[in-house]
Assembly symmetry: C2
């Protein structure tokens, strides 16, 4: 049902410092940068093998990632798996009784279609499924 890890989401406090760390010290190429106002984040995507690291900087304290950082500090926020058909995967998960955050997909970065599974259904791990845009 799930394909490779699309990305891990990392909640950061200081986007430029984190970017310098991941790009310069760890050597990951930056491939995309986007502000997603509806999710309250500025996101930067870096390549690592066929996978990505997504740095997430909150646009303010009263956003999901802002509240996460205030409570837990910066660090691993979620994991995202690639799927061929996000609607079909959501339907299969719902049919298996899996608790979802998103009953229907929403728009992700780079034209992807995404949905979040509730961490209560996945052992405390905030889990995203991603149907990449055709060109990625």
């Amino acid at each position: 049902m799930l394909g490779r890890i699309d990305h891990i989401g990392v909640a950061v406090e200081d986007l430029e410092a984190s970017l310098q760390l991941y790009a310069e010290v760890l050597g990951m190429p930056v491939v995309h940068r986007e502000t997603v106002a509806e999710q309250g984040v500025e996101a930067v995507l870096l390549d690592v093998g066929e996978n990505h690291v997504e740095l997430l900087a909150p646009l303010g304290p009263d956003t999901p990632v802002g509240r996460y950082v205030a409570k837990n500090g910066p660090g691993l926020h979620h994991v995202a798996y690639q799927v061929a058909d996000v609607e079909a995967t959501l339907a299969a998960l719902a049919a298996a009784g899996t608790r979802l955050i998103d009953e229907t997909p929403r728009n992700g970065i780079r034209g992807s279609r995404v949905a979040f599974v509730h961490p209560a259904a996945t052992g405390g791990v905030l889990t995203e499924i991603v149907q990449p845009a055709e060109e990625h």
Copy 2:
């Protein structure tokens, strides 16, 4: 310097329940199971694309993963990236001034050689580098 995501490590409280979730509900094949007494965990590896999910159940409360679960609850514990040469990568990270947990590699599961970078050096993300055994 870093290759694809080898695995994400997930700290769990109930290994059988988590295994059922990842194997049955999310459909990931189990490929390996090993007790690593020196790290105080029972580990199960599942395939997802070219990557893996590593479920980590503490062997007792007074272990690194046991203390993590007591403090944070179950959830995302670390991320591991593949490298061709763990010694060379450690040397490069140290030369860049990166704070390490392991100055020299230790034995990981399935015959791998691994080392941990300190989360203070990676924006709060416990980061592992993994040189897989030849056959994996």
